[in-house]
């Protein structure tokens, strides 16, 4: 009888814990447009294009009546790069990473670049952690490790459009 009572108690506690865990049932799209730059001259191989994000995500959620506490997670849903016409056949691949002063760097998207592509849609990572924390941190950064096929005397600019999904639960 005691075992039965204990089992019921444990089951009830587990059910309560599951019920209390916030689950996202709403989402909003949030877009960051930024230019990532690697200062030339650049050598053949991997070069780092970077930008500091002044993400206005805090203002955005405020405008939409969402509090930070309601947000369960933030995920990158798409990433696209537009390449200068002068550099169309220069790029081999783009590996996109984000981080902030207080949270570690993580790969979020990648693409092999076909010749003559003006716009490149990157494949977004399945494993994304702490994006919410990174975007809400004081200083956050986006970097693209761009592999180029030959030396370049000028700067390399990548125009990036990053679309995030802010997943939150209702009050």
């Amino acid at each position: 009888m005691k075992i039965l009572q204990s089992s019921i108690l444990v089951f009830s506690l587990l059910s309560l814990m599951v019920a209390c865990t916030p689950e996202a049932n709403n989402s909003k799209e949030f877009t960051i447009n930024t230019v990532l730059t690697a200062s030339g001259p650049l050598f053949e191989g991997s070069n780092t294009c970077q930008a500091e994000i002044s993400s206005n995500i805090a203002e955005y959620i405020k405008e939409n009546g969402i509090t930070k506490e309601q947000i369960v997670d933030v995920t990158l849903t798409s990433a696209a790069a537009t390449i200068d016409t002068s550099n169309l056949n220069l790029l081999e691949s783009i590996n996109l990473q984000v981080f902030s002063d207080n949270f570690p760097m993580q790969n979020v998207a990648f693409a092999n670049v076909e010749d003559n592509s003006e716009k490149v849609d990157l494949e977004v990572a399945d494993v994304q952690e702490q994006l919410k924390a990174i975007l809400f941190d004081g200083k956050s950064y986006i970097i693209a490790d761009a592999t180029i096929k030959e030396d370049l005397d000028d700067d390399l600019n990548l125009n990036m459009e990053l679309v995030f999904s802010i997943n939150y639960h209702k009050k």
């Binding site: 991997s46 981080f99 790969n107 977004v124």
Partner: protein, 159 residues
């Protein structure tokens, strides 16, 4: 005589100003000593360490064997836990991430090292002595880790 004293004074002032402005060491953080090109003890790769924001990162810029014998294509991060990220080339891969320099202990810590051959990620601490890096990777307890020694590669500047 007055002119000579003024001239000596001006020269002394100029020397003082230039000693504060022209020496790279005076404007650099001690942590920046790690910036450069390094080779692990097995000689299989070369890693360029750079600073982004306030942290240090190292990426593979050269591989002794860049082609995967199984695919006959450039090596990629085939052991990544995320299937979608398994096409990322190893040349250009950031294997050292998020190191912060501690002026007191003279070490770079708080970062991770990734072993692309196994797909394993380790906590890591780096110390430097005479242009040699001691890279200690560990899981959980630092004392139970393994240290590899990396030597600095001098870069010949292109004309």
């Amino acid at each position: 005589m007055k002119k000579i004293i003024t001239l000596i004074g001006a020269l002394a002032l100029l020397f003082t100003i230039s000693s504060f402005t022209s020496s790279p060491a005076s404007v650099q953080d001690g942590g920046d000593d790690i910036i450069g090109l390094w080779e692990p003890s097995n000689g299989k790769a070369r890693v360029k360490i750079e600073k982004i924001g306030s942290k240090y990162y190292g990426k593979i810029v050269w591989l002794r064997e860049p082609i995967d014998p199984a695919t006959q294509k450039p090596k990629v991060d085939k052991n990544n836990e995320d299937e979608k990220m398994r096409n990322v080339p190893l040349r250009g891969y950031r294997m050292l991430k998020d190191f912060v320099y501690d002026e007191e202990s003279k070490e770079w810590s708080g970062g991770t090292i990734y072993d692309p051959e196994s797909g394993s990620l380790y906590s890591c601490v780096i110390t430097m002595k005479n242009d040699v890096l001691d890279i200690r990777g560990y899981v959980g307890v630092k004392a139970l880790g393994r240290t590899d020694t990396w030597k600095r590669i001098k870069i010949k500047k292109k004309n």
